[in-house]
């Protein structure tokens, strides 16, 4: 009898515990809402080369934020859900993906795309008041918009940062021969770059040398750069990694060992892979080097969450998400208009590279939509690439 009673009490206690736990669980689930943030990335086509790893980093940043308790806005807890769409490396694909995010997925915030696809995304997002954060900007004003902000970095930021590093590494270089890709951004980009050059006491030798984006063998451009005998150094501005490395190889092959100031983010081993050891000398470039001295902790944390094979660490996308989340928190709202208003009145926002300075009014013709961030740089000397530290963030003109 006593055993039966004990068993009945045990069952009752068990039931009570189960019910309490179940209700407690339901309570928690009801508490945390989901904040959908779009991720507009190239998963197919030529640009997937850059975007696939970046997309993974964005997902990891969202997981990291959720694991740390998510966002709390006006007392309501939110977990981030990343809604990914493939922009298919084309403007038409970008419009289709943006339309899907805007209307079908009903997101109010988007991370991406890269600057080239920015106008296509803006054509959908701006009229629908969807706040989007570009992961990279080439300098064309159409890339940013009323609801378009810059996260990550830009060609002008890159130029500023590497020139600041050049002052330290190559103090004797004052006259620069400049080279950049002819992707349609040259008139806008050079306006900003010329201001930075004048501000930092540099002189441009001749006109900027431009080349077609389609160009494979960069030897003709190397010959042109080599012919600028008046220049103390070569300054490459908006060049994608492979084009930069091939031009470097071509210039060095002609026996030109002048200092090279490269505003391209490229890892040392990748640079050596394409240009060859002998070409990697007397140059500085920007670098996203995980687990290097002086890195902001979050910079390494995001990289170390990666699984699978080694891929490029562009860091643009995750930085854009971190900036966006920091402004949402500051605005204490998930209304894009309130977040937009908050961003436009902030002086600094968080980024993967530490505090970023909200600026670029003159260069972009739009108030407080661009960011000046800090970035690390590396030096190549006699085939060895060494990490040289971080260049602090400064405002874009």
């Amino acid at each position: 009898m006593a055993c039966r009673r004990m068993a009945a009490i045990g069952i009752c206690i068990g039931l009570v515990i189960t019910l309490v736990a179940a209700f407690a669980g339901t309570g928690n689930a009801q508490q945390a809402k989901t904040l959908k943030i779009g991720s507009l990335k190239a998963m197919t086509g030529f640009y997937s080369f850059y975007d696939t790893a970046d997309a993974m980093d964005i997902r990891n940043v969202a997981k990291m934020i959720n694991d740390k308790g998510g966002l709390t806005i006006k007392g309501q807890k939110y977990n981030i859900e990343i809604v990914e769409e493939d922009l298919k490396s084309s403007l038409e694909g970008t419009t289709a993906a943006a339309t899907k995010l805007a209307y079908d997925k009903k997101v109010k915030f988007v991370v991406g795309p890269a600057g080239w696809f920015g106008p296509a995304a803006g054509a959908v997002f701006n009229p629908n008041k969807i706040l989007y954060v570009l992961e990279f900007s080439t300098g064309q004003p159409g890339e940013l918009g009323p609801y378009g902000f810059m996260g990550g970095i830009s060609s002008i930021t890159d130029a500023m940062l590497i020139l600041a590093a050049a002052k330290k590494e190559f103090p004797e270089a004052k006259k620069l021969v400049c080279v950049t890709a002819d992707d349609g951004s040259v008139p806008y980009l050079m306006k900003g770059v010329k201001k930075v050059l004048a501000r930092d006491g540099y002189t441009m030798v001749g006109d900027v040398i431009t080349y077609s984006q389609e160009m494979q063998d960069m030897s003709p451009i190397a010959a042109k750069l080599n012919a600028a005998s008046d220049a103390d150094a070569i300054f490459s501005i908006n060049m994608v990694g492979p084009a930069f490395a091939n031009t470097l190889k071509g210039v060095r092959e002609l026996g030109n060992k002048k200092p090279w100031i490269g505003a391209t983010v490229m890892e040392g081993p990748d640079l050596i892979t394409i240009a060859g050891k002998s070409a990697v000398t007397n140059l500085i470039t920007l670098i996203n080097k995980p687990n290097a001295p002086g890195n902001p902790p979050i910079f390494d944390e995001v990289y170390n969450m990666r699984t699978g094979q080694r891929q490029m660490y562009t860091a643009f996308g995750p930085s854009a998400l971190i900036s966006l989340v920091s402004v949402i928190k500051a605005a204490n709202s998930i209304d894009p208009d309130a977040v937009k208003a908050q961003w436009e009145k902030m002086d600094t926002v968080d980024s993967l590279y530490g505090k970023a300075i909200v600026s670029g009014d003159e260069s972009y013709g739009i108030k407080h939509h661009a960011l000046g961030v800090a970035t690390a740089y590396q030096k190549g000397m006699n085939g060895e690439v060494t990490f040289r530290g971080w260049v602090p963030a400064s405002p874009i003109p």
């Binding site: 998963m43 197919t44 030529f46 997937s48 080369f49 850059y50 696939t52 790893a53 990914e84 493939d86 084309s90 403007l91 970008t94 419009t95 289709a96 993906a97 339309t99 899907k100 805007a102 209307y103 079908d104 080239w116 106008p119 296509a120 803006g122 054509a123 159409g142 002819d182 992707d183 349609g184 008139p187 006109d207 040398i209 431009t210 080349y211 077609s212 984006q213 389609e214 160009m215 063998d217 030897s219 003709p220 010959a223 042109k224 012919a227 990694g241 492979p242 490395a245 091939n246 092959e253 002609l254 026996g255 990748d270 892979t273 394409i274 060859g276 002998s278 094979q309 080694r310 891929q311």
Partner: protein
Amino acid sequence: MEQVIIATTINVFILSAMYILTATGFALLFSMLGILNFAHGAIYMMGGYIGFELSVRFGLNPWLATLFSMLAMGGLGVVLEKYFFRPFVGNFNKTVMVCIAITIVAQTTINILEGGKIQSLPAFVEGIFKAGPISVSYQRVVTFALGVVLLGIVTWFVTRTKWGVQMQAIAQNMNGALLQGIKVHKISALAVALGCGVAALAGCLMGAYLQLTPFMGDSMLTKVLILVVLAGVGSIGGIFVTGLILGGLDAILPTVIGGATSDAIAVCIVTFLLLVRPQGFFGHESDGGEAPPSTRVVRGERPSRWTAPSLWAGFLLVLCVLPLFFDSPYVLHVLTLTFIYVIASSSLRTITISGQFPMAHGAFMGIGAYAAGVSSKWLGVPVWITIPGAALVTMGLGILIGYPFARLRALYYAMGSLFFGIGVIQIIYAFGIWTGGSSGLYGIEPIFTSSKTPYYYFFLAMATLCLLALHRLEFSRIGSDLKAIAQSHLVASSVGIGEAWYRIFVLGVGCFFVGLAGAGYAHYNMVIGSSNFTLMGTMWLLNYALVGGIESFAGPIIGTIVLFLIPEFFRDLKMYNPFISAGILLFVVYVMPQGLVALPAVLKSRLAGLRGAKGSDAVSASS
């Protein structure tokens, strides 16, 4: 200055050798078997990646890795010849579809496995050769030497060996070769294996000299096409001269003219050369430029007729009421784009009924789009003027270009128009200040400022009217004359049909409608870039028509709906999505060779077959 001249002179030879090296494999198949292997770029890319894997991952010597890569690609060539090329000998359409499918599968697979990583083969030879003012890396010297040697070996093989002569015999007359006891399939397989092996060698060398990417074959293919066609059909040795011309232009022009303008001038010069000598510098002048059999537009037996007005009226009615049931703006967006592409692919098909193969149709769509976009953005011209105005501008340019091209037939017409298409893209890049260059043109005035629904009905109406007009033309007297020209231009001329006039006319009509589609696209999308209007853009328009069935007026409509819509609705597959397009292409090629328009007929015959089988089973059971 002296330094630039020396460096440029060296670059002329090195670039020429690079082009020759990459073009030799393609030229071999094109000249010997008449196979326009548009998958050559993909094979070149795969060859490079195999060489990379063997040399970097498995630590093999780069030369040995290249040799294995050549053997592997040669083996793949045998498979390709048997299952992908042989069944479609003499059929340009099917060859194009198969090659595009192979390219998609190869690029997507390598992108999934190797994308996002900067990779390059190790240098074959380290160091820099210096002699006085000359300074050049040994790697480039090796590339140059191999390019020249390889071309010499292939030329010798084709002209001096028994197998090479047999290849030429097959190219000249396959049936005759068969009758003479030549093992046609064996020799064809050998030629494809050789072509693929040479492509792998080029991929490995370029993978060491430049770098590897899954899409490295695309830009190379354009250069190769220019080189081979300029050399002329049937001439492998000719690519030595055209390689020098192209290498010279690409090495000299960027040092004189900056940016994208140099590319535009180079393509314009090549187009002019082709106009002067349409059969290429060393091509055969057979029949005033008639194409080899495999590159003719194939017009086979007519599939089932899809002309029942009630069927189309019902379909139109469904489309009209669709927005009432689907309130998804995304679905409406995709359908709106489908209507635009239906106009573009149907207008392409209209040109093909005259027997011409327009390879610049995507570029003409771009002309319409940019004419509307530029006049709207920079001149503030209202939309109701820019759309018809852009269509007229496109038509005018089409006629202007059609005039010199009218004397070109079949392959030469296709290639001449292909160069024009490439030239258009380069001009868009060169005038970046107005066109936005490779970044695209944005800020184009929209037609409506409200939701997607007005756009849907606007483009549905536009597509309906355009299709009615094109249908009227095709089934008019003019349409019959155009078809007569396609059957035999000599017979048509003998009964007084002015071939050149008709060809210019139909090109003008096709350009008008594709210009209209392009202008509408620009005002709908509000942002335009060149990527839709490249050679691949034309290829997709062509594939829409081929998937549906190019023989039927309904073909491009059905093809666009299937090939554009289905992959769009499988967006969630992300990196794997391109396999859908490849799957559709291969399904149509192998299962429904007449295109999807033949689906009812195929189903009907299968059902009849089943009934027949059941009937015979019943008879046998009862007996």
